[in-house]
């Protein structure tokens, strides 16, 4: 899962990024509207955290422009707490709305929720054969036995499970699992996949030669 944070308060952006990275998300940050809009349009993010008051281009405009091109779920952050602002935010195409100050846990929960909704899921668990993923606790069980996965491994399993039945290309996986600052070696993905197969069974992830990977 790759998330973009557009927030001009550097300290706030940093703490959000750290909190999200700890959850296994790949995180990019943009500190002004222009940079944020460019990043949001040029990458396929799984979610965008967008502040409203931004230098250069404000949050409303970014949302407007983003919606003409992409369906990326957007969580808006703002210091305005009046109903008109909330209504405006949601009407402009924001998927959720969070008022400052907020708890980190709430941001994380709302990001999980908008990602889940964008994958058309109604509950927090995904079942793939004998494997059950819990999106809220980020845990995986195989035949009711808890399996210990690293954050990156979990992200990979989660991304594939959210796109159950679809073939996901290596490029897509790179884009969604690694942020722009990570110098990812091309075989890093194969290492993760082989580890997942060891833990969840050799048939859990199917390799489609020349196309990519698929689960379910």
């Amino acid at each position: 899962m790759r998330i973009l944070i557009i927030e001009d308060e550097i300290d706030l952006a940093k703490s959000l990024a750290r909190g999200l990275k700890d959850e296994g998300y790949a995180v990019d940050t943009a500190n002004d509207g222009e940079e944020g809009l460019f990043s949001a349009l040029s990458n396929d993010y799984d979610a965008v955290v967008l502040d409203i008051m931004l230098p250069k281009i404000d949050g409303w405009k970014i949302l407007e422009k983003l919606r003409t091109k992409k369906k990326t779920p957007v969580l808006m952050l703002t210091a305005r707490d009046q109903t008109v602002d909330r209504v405006r935010g949601l009407d402009s195409g924001a998927d959720d709305y969070l008022i400052k100050p907020f708890d980190l846990e709430e941001v994380l929960a709302r990001i999980r929720a908008i990602i889940r909704r964008s994958a058309n899921l109604t509950s927090n668990s995904i079942t793939v054969g004998d494997v059950i993923l819990n999106l809220a606790s980020k845990t995986v069980t195989l035949k009711n036995k808890a399996i210990d996965l690293t954050a990156r491994e979990y992200s990979l399993v989660e991304f594939l499970a959210l796109h159950k039945g679809e073939v996901i290309t290596r490029t897509q996986l790179y884009e969604h699992l690694f942020d722009e600052n990570e110098s990812s070696l091309s075989n890093l993905l194969d290492v993760h996949v082989s580890k997942i197969r060891k833990k969840l069974g050799p048939d859990f992830v199917v390799t489609r030669r020349g196309h990519g990977y698929c689960v379910g």
């Binding site: 308060e9 300290d11 706030l12 940093k14 703490s15 909190g19 008051m53 230098p55 008022i99 400052k100």
Partner: protein
């Protein structure tokens, strides 16, 4: 007893009391007049009869002669002479001897039980002998009559409640008592009094009803005003009192109230906006501290990460501290608690000191800072005015274009000293020039600076406290001028 506090009831009470007083006075006067007239009529009749009897007893042609020497009157039954009569009177007189006088036949109808008025008479000589009486005359206490008849002339009085009597003492000392039962007249008077009281009560209740209606009508607009005022104070300050133009005094009151509500609403909205803005400004630093601390505590971190977190929290806390300081400073100016330490200061040294302080910032941004010498001195608080000028100069530097300049000029105009801070930046939106000194208004909405849009508000508060004025003007060809006008 506690008086009712409502104007309506108090008016009603006073009105009622006055009405009762006036009606009682009128009723009493009417009754007294009626009573006097009744008695007067009765007394006239009694006097008339007394005179008739007197005439009969002492015919006018014999006036001056003593009765004992007179030939006995024709109707005197006793032919005895005076000397023989006297001794007879000294002994208890025989009952028939008492009836010694009969009125003339034409006068007889004036007395007796058949007489419609029920008049009676008794004639008693000065020696106490009953000379004559009508058939319906009551038995009298002779002694009492004699003592009371010490004065000559008629005495009229009411005895035994319903008897009106005239006691006339003739020139020789005989008593003629004419009386009648006046219970009929008294009953009439009583009925009259009751009628008057009844009329009084009807008039009073009509009056009270009328008074109630008039009071209610007169107070109706006041009630409307108070109801509206209540509604306004309870919920919605935007409501206003509507009144017809006819009630001049009340519409004036309504106007006063409306303008008060107007000012209240403005002040209230400003206060609301101020509180909202202040809370708004605190949201971001609080969000920083919360998320920084929460993400740092999620798992074990390196000491570099901890330092970074603590520094971020510190920055947020300092930002809040500055905001709180600014708010408190404004609050002190608002409540008039901020005291100015005024001294005679030279405008030139004030400007030079400020420019020297800000010079490094200007150099950093490649801005030329210049000022013209000025000979003026003003009576002002040096510290506070430095704060104003530094704030204005820093703003002028921050919003300037690269390689621009900031120019300070001071000059006298009338009784004022004017200090202009002119920059060559992009200038300010003409719409914003009006509101730039209002709290939490920023030149650039997204600029989350250190003073949260309170810097210029504080400048304004300081200048206003000095009795001066501050304004923002558009400069030619570009930029803007912040003009501080101070009294010399």
């Amino acid at each position: 007893m506690k008086l009712p506090s409502s104007i309506k009831w108090r008016l009603q009470l006073w009105y009622g009391l006055i009405l009762i007083f006036v009606l009682s006075a009128l009723g009493f006067a009417a009754y007294t007049m009626q009573r006097t007239r009744t008695y007067h009529d009765i007394d006239d009749e009694l006097k008339l009869r007394t005179n008739i009897l007197n005439e009969a007893l002492h015919p006018v042609n014999q006036r001056g002669a003593r009765r004992p020497q007179n030939p006995p009157p024709p109707r005197r039954q006793s032919p005895d002479t005076e000397p023989t009569e006297r001794p007879a009177l000294q002994s208890p007189p025989p009952p028939q001897a008492a009836i010694v006088f009969q009125p003339k036949s034409q006068d007889e109808s004036l007395f007796g039980s058949e007489n419609p008025g029920g008049y009676y008479f008794t004639i008693i000589t000065h020696t106490g002998v009953v000379l004559g009486k009508s058939s319906n005359a009551p038995t009298l206490d002779i002694n009492q009559i004699n003592t009371s008849a010490s004065t000559k002339g008629p005495i009229t009085r009411t005895t035994r409640n319903t008897i009106r009597e005239t006691h006339f003492v003739t020139r020789i000392g005989d008593s003629i008592i004419v009386g009648r039962d006046i219970s009929n007249e008294l009953a009439h008077l009583k009925i009259n009094a009751l009628e008057l009281a009844g009329i009084g009560i009807i008039v009073l209740s009509l009056g009270l009803m009328g008074g109630y209606w008039i009071t209610a009508q007169a107070l109706k607009p006041i009630i409307t005003i108070s109801q509206t005022a209540e509604k306004i104070s309870a919920s919605d300050l935007s409501k206003r009192i509507e009144l017809s133009h006819s009630e001049e005094e009340l519409s004036a009151l309504a106007k006063v109230l409306n303008s008060t509500f107007e000012r209240l609403e403005t002040a209230f909205n400003q206060q609301k906006q101020f509180t909202y803005d202040a809370a708004h400004e605190l949201r971001t630093p609080v969000a920083i501290i919360l998320t920084q601390a929460q993400s740092a505590l999620k798992k074990e971190r390196s000491s570099a990460e901890y330092i970074e977190t603590i520094e971020a929290c510190l920055r947020a806390a300092q930002r809040m501290k500055r905001l709180i300081e600014s708010l408190l400073e404004l609050a002190r100016f608002d409540s008039g608690q901020e005291l100015l330490t005024k001294t005679q200061i030279s405008v030139n040294s004030l400007i030079t000191d400020c420019v020297d302080l800000v010079e490094p910032i200007a150099k950093e941004k490649n801005i030329t800072l210049s000022h013209a010498p000025c000979e003026l001195t003003i009576h002002a608080d040096y510290e506070k005015l430095s704060q104003v000028l530094i704030n204005l100069i820093i703003n002028a530097i921050q919003y300037n274009s690269i390689g621009g300049s900031v120019e300070l000029t001071a000059y006298a105009k009338g009784n004022s000293c004017i200090i202009d801070v002119k920059d060559t930046g992009i200038g300010i939106d003409p719409q914003k020039l009006q509101v730039i000194f209002e709290r939490f208004v920023r030149l650039d909405e997204s600029r989350k600076g250190s003073n949260a849009g309170l810097g210029l508000s504080i400048c304004k508060a300081i200048v206003t406290a000095h009795g001066g004025a501050i304004e923002a003007l558009a400069a030619q060809p570009t930029g803007c001028i912040f003009r501080v006008t101070l009294p010399v």
